[in-house]
């Protein structure tokens, strides 16, 4: 049986990333899709394209994102669109929205793992110190 539509909650568009590109080369367009109950998102379903996101970093190690702020404001403010989590994170990074809570938690975890890795490296760097000192002492 096909998905039943509730007329009371119908008519809310959603902003999400649409995957384009080819094998081993993804590329996302930030698009406006109609209501979720009208079927999963596909190319023919897109209402409007509002930006792009390139997940692979370029030669300067940058991930480029473009956004049409005016149209985004229209869809978010006037038409009350649902926004997907990746798009929310990108908007937070851009400055239009506050930083997403998930981003904070992820950043905290990454900071901790980075600190652990740095500590491990330092320990690995300090361990061969004693044999070097004994060698240096007779020299000095």
């Amino acid at each position: 049986m096909r998905q039943l539509i509730n007329p009371k909650t119908f008519g809310r568009p959603s902003i999400g990333l649409a995957l384009f590109g080819c094998t081993n080369r993804p590329f996302y367009h930030i698009c406006i899709f109609p209501d979720r109950s009208l079927g999963r998102r596909f190319e023919g379903n897109i209402i409007e394209q509002v930006g792009t996101f390139d997940p692979l970093p370029n030669a300067k190690n940058e991930k480029l994102v473009s956004m049409n702020i005016e149209r985004l404001k229209y869809w978010i403010g006037k038409r009350n669109a649902q926004i997907s989590v990746p798009v929310l994170e990108l908007l937070g990074l851009s400055g239009l929205f506050p930083i997403h809570p998930k981003a904070y938690i992820r950043a905290k975890d990454q900071r901790e793992t980075l600190a652990q890795q740095v500590a491990a490296l330092q320990i690995a760097a300090e361990t061969p110190a004693p044999p070097e000192e004994t060698e240096k002492n007779p020299e000095s």
Binding site: R40, E70, K73, Y74, G77, F97, P98, K102, I105
Partner: protein, 234 residues
């Protein structure tokens, strides 16, 4: 049938423009079963740290509050823009207007050029026509003048022999002295036959019979004038 398809289909074999009839529906057809990769797949997400969960709770509340207020702010902004005439529709209308004005200007210029060309052509044609008329009239006038001069000259020449009140007496005398008689017949050699013989002054009584009721050819010719020399014949 084969020939028609060969003629209609493009040269390249991998043409996706002609063979496509309708875009297919997205996703798998509902009758197909789920894939083996997905079957019995159970996802166990890792447990989060309790402090992270506590942090996430208040962060989520603040974030949602912020998002709701941002929606209201954006709505106000867009409405203010539209009221001020800077909205999307107003912009598109302005763009349309500019485009239409440009197109109108272009059309006007084209029409002006065409008009200029046509007017020039017509002017040239009219000028040529009028010049033709003038030329015709002038040539007719010149022709007329020539003919009339010739006529007048002839007339002037002829007027030398005109009879005026002064010449009348001499001319009368001359005419009476040299009467011209055309009452003759002429044969192939050029002999003229006068019958009756012309007389300057009537001698005796003239004959009573004056017409040609009887056939003169039956009578032996009596009055033969010598024919003029061959050079002056006719």
């Amino acid at each position: 049938m084969l020939l028609n398809r060969c003629l209609l289909s493009p040269a390249s074999s991998n043409s996706s423009t002609l063979n496509r009839r309708r875009t297919p529906k997205p996703g798998k057809p509902p009758i197909l079963p789920p894939a083996k990769k997905v079957l019995y797949k159970v996802v166990h997400p890792p447990w989060m740290k309790p402090e992270d969960v506590k942090e996430l709770l208040w962060r989520r509340h603040t974030y949602n509050n912020a998002v709701v207020s941002l929606r209201k702010v954006f709505k106000k902004e867009i409405e203010a823009k539209e009221a001020a005439g800077l909205g999307i529709e107003a912009q598109s209308e302005k763009d349309d207007l500019n485009e239409l004005i440009l197109e109108n200007e272009r059309r006007n210029n084209e029409a002006a050029l065409k008009r200029e060309r046509q007017e020039k052509e017509e002017y040239e044609k009219m000028k040529a026509e009028f010049l033709g008329y003038i030329e015709k009239k002038l040539s007719a006038q010149a022709q007329n003048a020539k003919e009339r001069t010739v006529e007048v000259k002839k007339m002037i020449e002829e007027s030398q022999n005109f009879v005026t009140k002064e010449n009348m007496d001499e001319k009368l005398k001359e005419a009476l002295e040299n009467p011209v008689v055309f009452d003759y017949c002429i044969d192939l050699h050029g002999n003229k036959f006068y019958d009756p013989l012309p007389m300057k002054y009537v001698e005796g009584t003239p004959t009573r019979q004056k017409s040609r009721a009887f056939d003169r050819s039956l009578v032996r010719p009596r009055n033969i004038e010598k024919p003029p020399p061959a050079s002056a014949a006719m």
